[in-house]
């Protein structure tokens, strides 16, 4: 275990150093990533100025929801870059995944360190900025319980989306190409929970409640922290289901990943 951790740190170090080689290129990449998140949120914030609120949620409250997702998805995207299905599919297609299997080192650690997209730091930073805008625009009455719960909410989202990346990567063992449906769950899912869930039609909300329970990751914790009433009358425990959803998703996806590895048949390239 300790050996694996040391190795993880070393391999990450290699990744980071190699990305910092071309300073200008790296800086431009950071700038582009940061500006993307910034302008996406700015377009929403500017439009909210005109409309005042979205289904009773003010600009500050939406910034709170939005910032949480950006931070969590950014961290996930950084840590799980190696599992990014589009990227991982290439390893399967080119047969480079076979090399990974041959090395006497933990496979998951090797895949995790295939990539460590440092440019996501810009996404996380801008996400924190949006979150701060949210804090300033809302009057949250903080309690120790809320403060303590906040990191768990973020962690749950990291686990949840990380799990989806792992599932998407595993599927490429059979399909070779990353499948588009996974994009709907990862990028579509993170878009969905960046807004109050009450804006969506019933079928969509039910999908993200009962089939993919993403509603509990951000929306319900936010209702609890912002002291907003629940329009869907769920039991009072609903805001605290996030860690459960995150951990179960990650555990199931890792089990699927191990199943995939034992059934992996190379493409032969």
């Amino acid at each position: 275990m300790r050996h694996t951790l040391t190795l993880y740190r070393r391999l990450l170090g290699v990744q980071i150093r190699s990305q910092l080689q071309y300073r200008v290129a790296f800086f431009m990449d950071l700038l582009a990533t940061g500006l993307t998140v910034c302008l996406e949120f700015a377009s929403l914030a500017l439009v909210l100025q005109r409309f005042q609120h979205i289904r009773g949620w003010t600009m500050g409250e939406v910034a709170f929801l939005y910032g949480m997702v950006e931070i969590a998805f950014g961290i996930m995207d950084l840590v799980f870059s190696g599992f990014d299905p589009g990227r991982f599919g290439q390893e399967v297609r080119r047969g480079t995944f076979d090399q990974i299997l041959l090395r006497p080192v933990n496979i998951t650690v090797q895949v995790l360190t295939l990539d460590f997209a440092l440019r996501r730091l810009a996404k996380i930073t801008v996400g924190i900025g949006i979150f701060i805008v949210g804090l300033q625009g809302t009057m949250i009455t903080w309690t120790p319980a809320k403060l303590l719960y906040l990191p768990f909410v973020l962690g749950s989202m990291v686990c949840f989306f990380g799990g989806l990346f792992v599932v998407g990567a595993t599927i490429t063992f059979w399909t070779v190409e990353s499948i588009e449906v996974m994009n709907i769950l990862t990028y579509g899912g993170s878009f969905t929970i960046s807004y109050p869930m009450s804006i969506y039609p019933d079928w969509l909300r039910r999908f993200f409640t009962y089939i993919v329970p993403a509603i509990f990751l951000n929306y319900y914790p936010a209702l609890y922290i912002l002291d907003k009433p629940d329009p869907f009358n769920f039991p009072p425990i609903a805001p605290f289901l996030a860690p459960l959803v995150g951990l179960i998703t990650l555990a199931l996806s890792l089990a699927f990943w191990r199943f995939g590895i034992t059934h992996y048949q190379s493409t032969g390239t």
Partner: protein
């Protein structure tokens, strides 16, 4: 000219072979469109019209933005940059054709496949799901066709131009991405420009980006009419020419710097 169409035809057939991928991408476009419709309708909150866009108008806006993503290559096109890094550009420069024309011919095929497979299909799907607005008169229909073609030419000249830094730096991906991010915001892809504060709109209209998308929507849903239509089409064409010329100028200095590593 024959060479141009020959390249276009081949590119068309090449992209046609990725039918399954195009259809899969279409599913994502439709889904994201549904999310964005939800956001916009929640903002409207029962208002029949905002800044010239009626409810069917704003749904048409969303449908159009999703329909042209692949056609305009809005999420990025790095092919020219890649050809510099792989060295393929050496062979391309030897072809009996300008580099710009060569890529334009290929992009014509690519765009044609995407407007047919993804663009038209997405509009039909949204037409079945929602009440949309459609061009009313023959003049407007003609203007729609022209503006859609010009928007693609504008996107191409922009993509060509921002790929050129590849001649100067060993990794231009960040710079190219910056070029696309600016286009998303100022073209009205993220939110209709008419919903943004006046000063943002004024800044946007100093750039070519509104004419990649926002103008197409305005012409399509009928916010613009009469001489305004003609004016928009002329401005679009002027930007296409300007960006194409700029691309040629930059390319001229770029080619002089080009070093191909043998492999």
């Amino acid at each position: 000219m024959r060479l141009f169409w020959e390249i276009t035809r081949r590119s068309f057939r090449r992209f046609m072979t990725y039918r399954a991928a195009a259809l899969a991408g279409l599913v994502t476009n439709v889904f994201f469109g549904l999310l964005r419709v939800s956001v916009l309708l929640a903002l409207y909150d029962g208002r029949p019209e905002v800044a010239g866009y009626t409810v069917p108008g704003i749904i048409t806006y969303t449908a159009l933005t999703q329909a042209v993503i692949a056609y305009l290559s809005l999420f990025g096109w790095f092919d020219l940059m890649q050809s510099v890094y792989t060295g393929e550009i050496a062979a391309d420069l030897l072809k009996p054709m300008r580099l710009f024309t060569f890529w334009l011919a290929q992009d014509t095929g690519r765009a044609a496949v995407n407007i047919l497979l993804r663009g038209v299909t997405i509009m039909i799907i949204y037409g079945l799901l929602f009440d949309l607005t459609y061009p009313q008169t023959a003049v407007q229909t003609l203007a729609v066709i022209l503006t859609i073609i010009l928007s693609w030419l504008l996107s191409f000249t922009w993509r060509f131009l921002i790929n050129l830094p590849a001649f100067w730096t060993p990794n231009a991906r960040g710079i190219v991405r910056l070029g696309y991010v600016l286009a998303w915001f100022f073209s009205g892809f993220l939110m209709p420009l008419r919903f943004l504060p006046d000063w943002v709109q004024r800044v946007a209209y100093l750039t070519p980006f509104p004419h990649m998308l926002n103008s197409v929507v305005d012409v399509y849903v009928g916010v613009l009419s009469g001489t305004e239509l003609l004016r928009v089409l002329l401005i679009q064409a002027a930007w296409v020419l300007a960006l194409a010329l700029m691309g040629q100028l930059v390319l001229k200095t770029a080619v002089r710097r080009l070093v191909i590593l043998g492999g």
